[in-house]
């Protein structure tokens, strides 16, 4: 009984959202406001049950992690935004979070996006027994990387052999990469659409097995 109601509700809202493909309409608007409201309420309960209660309140009331009172108070400063005379206090947690986030992100980004990529690109162009297509692949990878890097030079005019030709090749390499990514992602999206059509025709209308 409940399963059937669930399937009908799911089918109704799937069609309500798809109706946007025709134009913005009251049925879409109903689905939009419901999904925004329900998701927000659900997230609040989820955060209370998975973060605030087990990671903050329970350890504090158990009395063994009183240090957590400090981040708890810092978090409460966000609420001062509702009181204009002391709203400036909310800048402290913002500053703390931004500083911490940047501090944590810097070494991680440096390692993952600079050093590891650099290390992975340092491959030998040729070695004995290496098939020709692997040699060609290595050449494309290394010179493609160099050309793409040249494209992202902002303080030099893109003129001449190094910056001019380099950046032209670079944008071609970037666009070829984007084309491949586009095709790959579209394939993934079509499989999502197929899943939704299977739900409508199978679970809901029982037209397919």
């Amino acid at each position: 009984m409940y399963d059937t109601i669930g399937i009908w509700v799911g089918a109704f809202f799937t069609l309500a959202i798809y109706s946007f493909l025709y134009k913005e309409n009251p049925v879409y608007r109903l689905a939009e406001h419901l999904v925004v409201g329900i998701s927000l309420g659900y997230t609040m309960v989820l955060i209370y049950n998975s973060v605030i209660l087990p990671k903050l309140l329970e350890p504090i009331f158990a009395g063994n992690h009183l240090i957590l009172i400090i981040p708890g108070l810092l978090g409460l400063l966000y609420i001062t935004r509702f009181i204009p005379s002391i709203a400036w206090l909310s800048r402290y947690p913002i500053a703390f979070i931004m500083g911490t986030a940047m501090g944590v992100a810097f070494p991680l980004t440096m390692k993952a996006y600079v050093l590891r990529q650099l290390e992975a690109a340092m491959v030998p162009l040729y070695s004995s027994g290496m098939p020709w297509y692997e040699v060609f692949g290595n050449i494309v990878m290394i010179f493609g990387t160099l050309a793409a890097l040249i494209y992202f030079f902002f303080s030099k005019p893109h003129k001449g052999l190094f910056f001019g030709t380099g950046s032209k090749i670079g944008i071609w390499v970037i666009m070829l990469g984007f084309g491949a990514t586009f095709g790959f992602t579209v394939m993934g999206r079509i499989s999502l659409l197929i899943g939704r059509i299977q739900y409508l025709l199978g679970d809901w209308l029982h037209l397919i097995e």
């Binding site: 134009k23 992100a105 070494p107 650099l118 340092m122 890097l149 902002f154 666009m175």
Partner: protein
């Protein structure tokens, strides 16, 4: 039946699983321990998994917690304990361990309790990350060098970027049409570099918007980003000399759910019909839905992200797209402040350094393979191991 009895008997006759040593993990915060196990019959296929229970030495017997569970045979020489966030390892605390092996029949063979001879301790400097420290310091020095040069008044060139030059034009278009500007600062958290870049650009855009008295809409997915975005816009109105024009409802939080957020923004686009849409920051699978709806609504669209998988969608549906680092540089372009232009110049110097290192590494790797001399791989190894 007889076979299973014989198998169980053989299992019970085997020497039990035991922990032979516990060592502190080097270069950590004192929250990991290495456990060395001896598991007779590990490779025979009769044992499928091993588990480890842990408790503090001074805790009562009912405090044993399951902290590790690994399939057999083990892939590493040791197991690393401390990853479970519910049962963390505290520096300076002595623990005891009880291992157990699970047989293919589902029996548990419990080993002897092992009291750790050592306690974990944290290190002040992680020597595994020396290469990150050197590279980071070098990059910071380069950026500050050009930063200083710019501050001393040296003129620095910045090549034109169409997407950034179009920002002023897009704001002007919305002003002329009397329609709002929609600015989506991405869907990621404040820890994302793209979000920080986007918020800096938001400040610049909001200042122009305040000068032109154009309505601005800034929907947010992340609550922290929302508060920072609100501060940015408020500050921009103040700097433009129009704090009274600031509308507190212009920056708002929608929801944290990814596709519910998109549904909400799409609805805003079709109802409010903004003349200009900015999508600057970190985006995920929703990028095409957002940009396609904006395109249908007839808005001029400027996007910018460093998400490689989403850039193709923005390129195909938006009028202008800032690709990767162009987003980071946009703030310097818009502000024309010498300090920020100096920072962009410094970043270019860092890129040149990367190109030189890459070419050097390429030559050394090829020489290493041709001569068979591994010592030529020192540069690559240095980047890998620190």
């Amino acid at each position: 039946m007889i076979n299973s009895i014989v198998l169980t008997a053989l299992m019970l006759l085997q020497p039990a699983i035991e922990i032979t040593d516990v060592q502190d993990r080097p270069n950590d915060a004192g929250d990991r321990l290495h456990l060395y196990l001896s598991i007779p019959g590990e490779d025979t296929g009769d044992l499928v998994a091993c588990v480890v229970f842990r408790k503090q030495v001074d805790e009562p017997d009912d405090y044993w917690n399951l902290v590790l569970s690994e399939a057999l045979p083990l892939e590493e020489e040791f197991l690393v304990d401390g990853y479970d966030p519910d049962f963390i390892i505290e520096p300076g605390v002595r623990y005891m361990f009880r291992p157990a092996a699970i047989t293919i029949a589902g029996d548990t063979l419990v080993g002897e309790v092992f009291i750790s001879p050592i306690t974990s301790k944290g290190e002040f400097i992680n020597t595994d990350e020396t290469s990150v420290l050197i590279a980071g310091s070098l990059f910071i020095i380069l950026i500050f060098y050009y930063f200083g040069k710019a501050q001393r008044g040296q003129k620095m060139y910045l090549r034109p970027i169409a997407g950034i030059e179009a920002i002023d034009e897009a704001i002007g278009r919305a002003t002329e049409m009397g329609k709002p500007i929609l600015y989506v600062p991405g869907l990621s958290s404040i820890a994302d570099v793209a979000t920080i870049a986007s918020l800096t650009i938001l400040g610049r855009v909001a200042k122009k918007v305040a000068e032109y008295q154009t309505p601005l809409l800034v929907p947010n997915r992340n609550p922290i980003v929302y508060t920072v975005a609100e501060e940015c816009v408020k500050q921009a109105y103040l700097e433009a000399g129009r704090p009274d024009s600031y509308d507190p409802d212009s920056v708002f939080f929608l929801t944290q759910s990814q596709f519910a957020f998109v549904a909400g923004v799409n609805g805003i686009m079709m109802r409010e019909r903004p003349a200009t849409n900015f999508y600057l920051g970190m985006f995920y699978a929703e990028s095409l839905i957002l940009a396609e709806t904006g395109s249908l609504s007839g808005a001029i669209q400027i996007a910018g992200t460093d998400a490689i998988t989403q850039l193709p969608f923005f390129i195909t549906t938006c009028d202008y797209t800032l690709i990767g680092e162009e987003l980071y540089a946009a703030s310097a372009y818009l502000g024309h402040e010498p300090k920020q232009i100096g920072a962009v110049k410094g970043q270019d110097a860092c890129k040149m350094l990367i190109i030189i290192l890459l070419l050097l590494g390429l030559v050394l790797s090829t020489i290493s393979v041709i001569t068979g001399n591994e010592s030529f791989m020192f540069l690559k190894n240095m980047l890998l191991s620190g």
